[in-house]
């Protein structure tokens, strides 16, 4: 599952550490999310989307677009 976390983070000029703090996770989790190496739970996806002032749909590509 691909995501646009890095793009949104740059848009709001946030560091990985700041985003981690806002989402309530460790910085490594944000690193792995940005590298598409970790699939977050629905709850974490919601927290990250909220921290980046967007929606889960905008942030994550579930690969089901036709």
């Amino acid at each position: 599952m691909k995501n646009r976390i890095k793009e949104f983070r740059a848009r709001y000029d946030l560091t990985q550490e700041e985003l981690a703090k806002k989402a309530g996770v460790r910085r490594e989790t944000i690193v792995f999310l940005e590298q598409n190496k970790y699939n977050p739970s629905l709850n974490l996806a919601h927290e990250v989307a909220k921290a980046l002032k967007t929606t889960i749909d905008e942030l994550f590509d579930f690969g089901d677009k036709k």
């Binding site: 703090k21 460790r26 590298q35 190496k37 974490l44």
Partner: protein, 139 residues
């Protein structure tokens, strides 16, 4: 706020337990060596040193996380812990079986009372390696 307090408490408990564990191993190794003068005492002492170095690194990382205001555990680290525990349990069973077989078959000279200690230490090492592997691998 409550989470931060819990994290600080968890960190302190981990640090105290780690200190006690290392101290116990060092005392065991020292008393073993002074009683028997066998090289096993020195080996156990080196295990304690390795454990101390590894533990200090882990504790320092946790302390840095606390200082940055990060949680000590999050959903990813909990998943890794669960996976590593499952792997350590599964491989640990075979490790214990292999240990029992090797002691009988190859006459390793390990006293029966030491088998659980070696078994548990092996499982701890397997857990550490599995944790290290899963924390770098991703999903």
């Amino acid at each position: 706020m409550e989470n931060k307090r819990n994290d600080k408490r968890a960190f302190l408990i981990t640090a105290v337990l780690f200190g006690l564990l290392t101290l116990t191993i060092i005392i065991l190794a020292a008393s073993d060596y002074s009683n028997t003068h066998k090289k096993e005492g020195i080996v156990v002492f080196f295990v304690a040193i390795i454990l101390a170095v590894f533990g200090i690194k882990v504790l320092r990382d946790k302390y840095e996380s606390l200082k940055r205001g990060e949680p000590l555990k999050d959903e990813r680290s909990r998943k890794i812990e669960t996976k590593a525990s499952a792997v350590a349990f599964l491989i640990g069973i075979y490790w214990l079986l292999a240990l029992g077989f090797a002691i009988d078959e190859f006459k390793l000279g390990v006293p029966a009372s030491s088998v659980p200690n070696v078994g548990i230490a092996g499982m701890a090492v397997i857990f550490g390696l599995a944790y290290w592997y899963f924390s770098r691998k991703g999903e």
